[in-house]
Symmetry: C3
Subunit: 456 residues, 3 copies
């Protein structure tokens, strides 16, 4: 029996001591126990020594084994630690890399807009054909958290005139500060990217919109309003000849009194006051809302302009698939002349659109402009994309005093197919209803225009 | 003895119950056993309670410890899960990022081709010098799996004329659909990238090849054949003046009846039919297969062309290091005139090449063109790269009816050194054998041309 | 007792055998023991079989449980292995991806420099205004370890003239080899990137510096010295007209006898010998160290030049926040004419600068030029950036023999604010002290110039 007892104790103790759940320090208590057993003759001293030796060896692991859950926790944490400082790469819809700490990021992207158009001519010849409307690449990013930059180039243009955005921004003050070349804040259809406007071209009175320029601006926004203002030089090149550049002051305010998932109401107003600098000349002209042709529907030609004030009132309302948008432009030109009167030009457009799929225009309240349509069903993933019908009436009056640039009205129909978040195909029909005055007087062509667009 | 028994059972049971291999639920069975042992007097009720208490405590861990292999499996799986949705970044030879699910990708790449040439002049002066032949950047990618895009720009050109590729592609139908600006499918040496052609310039009759244009195309291919067709406008700008653009229909078929690791035979045919639009003018000209000089070896000048049909028959055969390639071009021009006859121009080239390292030309059967040479040994990694010798005879006849553009033959020798998959250095010797007619009549210069090329 | 013995042995053995610490192979020894126990009647053969069966089952785990530390080691190693071949992405200050094996890398970066300037005019009109001075994008990388490339484009320029760097480099020889379009090695202020020069424009005698060209160069450097030499063609286009390009030989040596954390002394010398090729014409001119205006402070107009040798001696010393820098240029022009004498032009500048924050200029001994300032405190991270004051006197003499380009001296004051490693704002005041001769004779305007710069 003693033997049995020895063996069972021996195995039992060894097993116990070397079992992973045995806490370190147990050995000392067991040594006491073994000594007691040895003292009452249950076990011999050899056994005590042997058991203790085995127990000690067992104890060399020093650490307990662990449960699967604990292992999984360790692994999870270790993997998290190993990857948390790794930059995050976003691939969906856009390529953007962000540092692990979020302080630095870079995005590389662009757009392609390939057009084809044919014209039903009236008085003047229009030129049918194809055109690469825009082919842009950009790099933008964050640096040290609060600093941003963007450099965007349109490859269809030549030299510095191809530079779209080239600016630096600081975002750690109540008002963001922007320096460089960027859009002067003006008008809803202008501040809405050409990727997201409803028709292939913006409505006629867009011709009043001041272009991008080098300047400094401040901006502030919340979820449903935005305020932007800036001072701007002229263009992107150094001044030409021996003439000083002019400068402009501009600003834009937007407010969305209604802004929820299904509905939004945009109200906005912009102004741009420009002093023309040494070269007091200005001109307004535009094609018939289709850019392939080279013929201008309206054109003032170059005229004297000391200063000019451009204003626009903006409104848009969206309710689910339906949307209405309208802007009214008013331009007052001081010709600084005793013989020539001041000039007033104006224009407006009204457009309505309807998604006949379960989609909706994407309004950004803190930018006061429209953004990317993300169709609920995607072509190539079993879906049919988003389909949108649109109508527009636009009007511009460039006749005043001695200037006869033309008073013109256009009607347009548009069909947009947003196949994926990145791909859009558009077909536009534009009918020049009437042109009164100017080189296009009485010329009422029709245009049928198509566009294939990718954004990446 | 009872004590011994108690101790051994006590330790044994505790150990057993708390041992990691004990499955949850064992406790209940043990409780039954303990009750039985207690009943037959082997152990007291105090022991039963104690053992059960300890067993329960042991059971609070609830989970067994696990083996190293299992830990490794967990870790492996956890790491796999943590990284499987991570974008994959390819760096070797090209920079490409692909989303974890493979639906989105972006590649940024480009090429540099820096040339220098010197000429042994004959009748006319040629201009020695250096030239950046191509300096291209591109971004291409996948969007939502089935959609692709590419935007490639050649920095040596100005404005929109620098846009090489700018297209959108949909690949989820039996025929791929492509819209935008891309190569009109025509000729083997044309569809082979300038990075991979055997000589620094394509053979003389390449002057017949229609350039890239905005259009829409369809394509289908398998391992050893390809079919492509499209309709194209003219160039990349909108139509100029008040003239309508012309349009072209084109197509190309290729088939490789032999296609294995050591041998391939390429057969192909292409055509391009173009209606010249409002401006019925056409011209063909080319330099002497070296681009640094500005002198044209042959040139028709501008002539009237209502429509033209260009065709080419293509053949190439590669057997290990040896390769032969030839194309024959035939162009028929309808001048739509009662007084001027139609014109027929033609040309061909035959080239042979031989790798004297253990390398081979890289034919792509589903594209019907040649691709990147990946030398078996790499310079900088203990290798010598791939070395290739080449010879070419090319001929073009631009004399017909009243047009005397020149009937010219060239002989060329080439040496290519593919140092790595990305780096290529080339030396070409070109001898103008004969020019009969045109501005270059009787002028038989020689050119020695070098190129350093990197592709990334 | 037997029962007790059996039970205790049974549990003890099973537990022991199935305990994770039991080494494989123990079973055989135990089988021997069980047989012995069975033989002396302690246990029955059924028990032996049962124990062995259980032991065998226990043995199927085959592996012992492991301790937490070991798990952590495994996890760490597994994560390391899983990520070690992953490309490394650097986001801080610059975006760079490097393959896991370090053989391939790609960096995408650029700079924006947006300027505005106003002039206090004297004799001639200067044009106030804004200018995008530089807007550059580049891609550079490593291929197969030893090969490098860089393609950099300045978007403010047109066509191929916008190509800054476009070269291939091989770095696995004692001397690096470079082929393509890059800076001819010449002068300290020239080899220092426009991002890092002290003033917004380089000092007047920079007009003597040969521009980038296509060529081949060799270079070697250690921590505190550099040697570069090369042979170069002219510009980046093919030769124009029917004229052969000229070529240049150039070289630069730099040495920093003092180079430690707080102090450095730069000494250097460069030369460029150019044969003008078929078109023997040369001209030197420059604006008044402010680039917005189009007026040239000095200008030789075009003159005959068969060959010319340009040399420059360079010196700079930095001690903590203080720095002095000066270069002397000497140009000798051979007009290869019996009637026209050779020409000698010269110039120099001296500039001093002082950081009144705890910052220092960043000298690179192996490049022999200045690099990026990394301010010790960063704006937007609670810091104020680095602030630097600078003064410069520069002089150039373009009057010699029949050429009267002007002998001019400028004094400049500069204030630089390095807000972060990437953002720099500069304000410069330039006073044209004197111009003697040439179109600008006696015209002493002042310029106030500002720049916003981002580098990414």
């Amino acid at each position: 029996m003693k033997k049995t007892g020895f063996i069972s104790i021996f195995f039992g103790l060894i097993t116990f001591l070397s079992a992973p759940v045995v806490q370190a320090g147990t050995n000392e208590a067991l040594a006491e126990l073994l000594k007691a057993l040895e003292a009452n003759g249950t076990i011999s001293s050899e056994i005590t020594d042997l058991v203790l030796k085995v127990a000690e060896q067992g104890d060399t692991t020093k650490s307990p084994a662990i449960a699967k859950e604990e292992v999984e926790k360790i692994v999870h944490e270790e993997v998290r630690l190993a990857t948390k400082d790794q930059p995050k790469i976003n691939m969906k819809d856009k390529f953007e890399v962000t540092s692990g700490d979020g302080q630095f990021s870079m995005r590389v992207g662009g757009r392609i807009q390939a057009d084809a158009a044919t014209y039903s001519e009236d008085l003047r010849r229009q030129n049918d054909g194809t055109e690469m409307r825009r082919a842009r690449l950009f790099v933008q990013g964050n640096l040290w958290d609060a600093w941003k930059y963007k450099l965007q180039y349109d490859l269809v243009n030549t030299g510095s005139s191809g530079i779209a955005d080239a600016y630096i921004q600081y975002t750690d003050l109540p008002w963001d500060i922007k320096v460089g070349h960027f859009k002067q804040p003006f008008s809803l259809q202008n501040m809405t990217s050409s990727k997201y406007i409803t028709f292939t071209e913006r409505g006629l009175p867009h011709l009043f919109t001041p272009g991008r320029a080098i300047g400094a601006g401040v901006g502030r926004s919340e979820k449903n309003w935005s305020l932007n203002a800036g001072i701007f030089g002229e263009g992107i090149d150094g001044a030409s000849g021996d003439e000083d550049e002019g400068f402009a002051l501009g600003g834009r305010a937007t407010y969305a009194p209604i802004l929820n998932n299904n509905q939004h109401l945009h109200l906005g107003a912009s102004f741009s006051y420009r002093d023309s600098g040494s070269i007091d000349s200005l001109s307004f002209s535009d094609r018939p809302e289709s850019h392939v042709t080279n013929v201008r529907e309206v054109s003032t030609g170059s005229f004297n302009a000391d200063t000019n004030l451009r204003t626009v009132a903006e409104a848009a309302y969206t309710n689910g698939p339906f949307s209405l948008q309208s802007e009214y432009y008013y331009v007052d030109i001081d010709r600084d002349s005793s013989t020539l009167s001041d000039l007033v030009f104006s224009g407006y457009y009204v457009e309505g659109s309807w998604f006949f799929t379960d989609d909706m225009r994407n309004y950004s309240g803190n930018k006061g402009s429209y953004g990317r349509i993300k169709p609920k069903s995607v072509v190539g993933k079993g879906g049919i994309g988003a389909w949108q019908l649109a109508m527009r009436f636009s009007s511009v009056d460039l006749n005043d005093a001695d200037i006869t640039g033309g008073d013109a009205q256009n009607f347009s129909l548009g069909l947009n197919w947003f196949a994926t978040n990145n791909i859009r195909l558009s077909a536009n029909y534009i009918n020049v209803l009437d042109v009164n005055g100017g080189a296009g007087d009485g010329d009422e062509p029709e245009a049928f225009q198509m566009r294939a667009q990718v954004e990446f």
